[in-house]
Symmetry: C2
Subunit: 187 residues, 2 copies
DNA sequence: ACATAAAAATAGATATATCTATCTATTTTA
DNA sequence: TAAAATAGATAGATATATCTATTTTTATGT
């Protein structure tokens, strides 16, 4: 009853694992084909260049991010809960990736903004998160004297900073601090 | 009256520029010696390996960071001002580096936490910033119902997230949003 | 100020390894 | 029988690092 994983998926699965864990620049084609146990010709059949593989990897991460967040929000109804889930989701991501951090942030550190297509995907990914959060914060009943849009932006930035810093420290404290703080602010 | 820059400094200056702009992994020894206009033997005389050069680069960044912040605080007296200067300093850094982001955060994205000595330096750098901010927030007269230590931590994380995201978007908005937000919170 | 010895810097070849990518020829799968 | 995947050689570029031999700089003693 074992499902045979197609070659293209084996490549992308291994590349995903390695790009996340080791980084893009420190992952060679040879390691990918070895660990995926496929021929180098097969790789270049599916992905004409290493850069195309990177694009496919990021596209998958993009899709999985929003699917994953939606799924983790199943059962929540209030905006307040969904905001807290936003932090919880990042905590879960960091746990399951062993503190790899955000793949989009990581790739910009690795290759800069030279590759226009990648720069575009990263910016778009972050932008979509901001829009999502702005929507949630707009639903909040009372935020005291705090502008909701400004609060949404800074909550996003806290989580971003906390994600980076949990990756550095390899413990979850920073993200937990954000959770505690925002809970106070919106409760 | 032209000061002759010593070989070791020429190497470190060029390496600094290239590691910041292009990244560590995307900067080769050959490019460094070419742009520094020195012989390869001289480089390996001063720095036994590329990793030693990286350590020297980070150590310099560490020293310059706190010197730079101190200098930018000259003339300010209140903790409130110094907290706002903290954001201004990061804005200035991003401007003058053309949005290179934090070198410590960047190197972790590039090489991970494998190199213990580097991991150590990065963690220590962030830790020192937290301590500095905790001290400043302790001095604040009134933060309403907000715990000062928690506020300091989350301010730090906001700035971290904003730094990363100004590097991604290549504009200063995120850092300006943090400034506006914290000003409201502590004013 | 000048000669000289030690240290530093140079050019440039080279070793060794790795990287991405291409190609051919053969086998497996659909 | 066509398409997909394989093994494996190889091209061509680039990486870090070492080595030799020579020149330049610096420091020291007279």
């Amino acid at each position: 009853m074992k499902e045979k994983v197609k070659v293209r998926d084996r490549i992308l699965n291994v590349a995903t694992e390695l790009f996340s864990r080791q980084g893009f620049n420190q992952t060679g084609i040879n390691q990918i084909i070895a660990e995926a146990d496929i021929a180098i010709g097969s790789l270049y059949n599916h992905f004409p260049s290493k850069n195309d593989l990177l694009l496919a990897y990021l596209q998958r991460k993009e899709d999985e991010w929003f699917e994953g967040y939606e799924r983790s929000c199943k059962g929540t109804s209030s905006a307040k809960e969904k905001i807290l889930k936003f932090v919880d989701f990042r905590i879960a991501q960091q746990k399951q990736s062993d503190f790899c951090g955000c793949p989009f942030t990581k790739i910009i550190s690795e290759i800069g903004s030279q590759e226009a297509q990648i720069q575009q995907m990263v910016e778009s990914h972050k932008s979509k998160q901001r829009v999502l959060l702005q929507g949630l914060f707009r639903e909040l009943k009372d935020t005291g004297e705090l502008d909701r849009k400004l609060l949404a932006e800074n909550f996003f930035l806290m989580v971003e900073g906390a994600t980076v810093n949990t990756t550095i420290s390899r413990n979850m404290q920073a993200l937990e601090h954000v959770r505690k703080f925002i809970k106070k602010l919106i409760d």
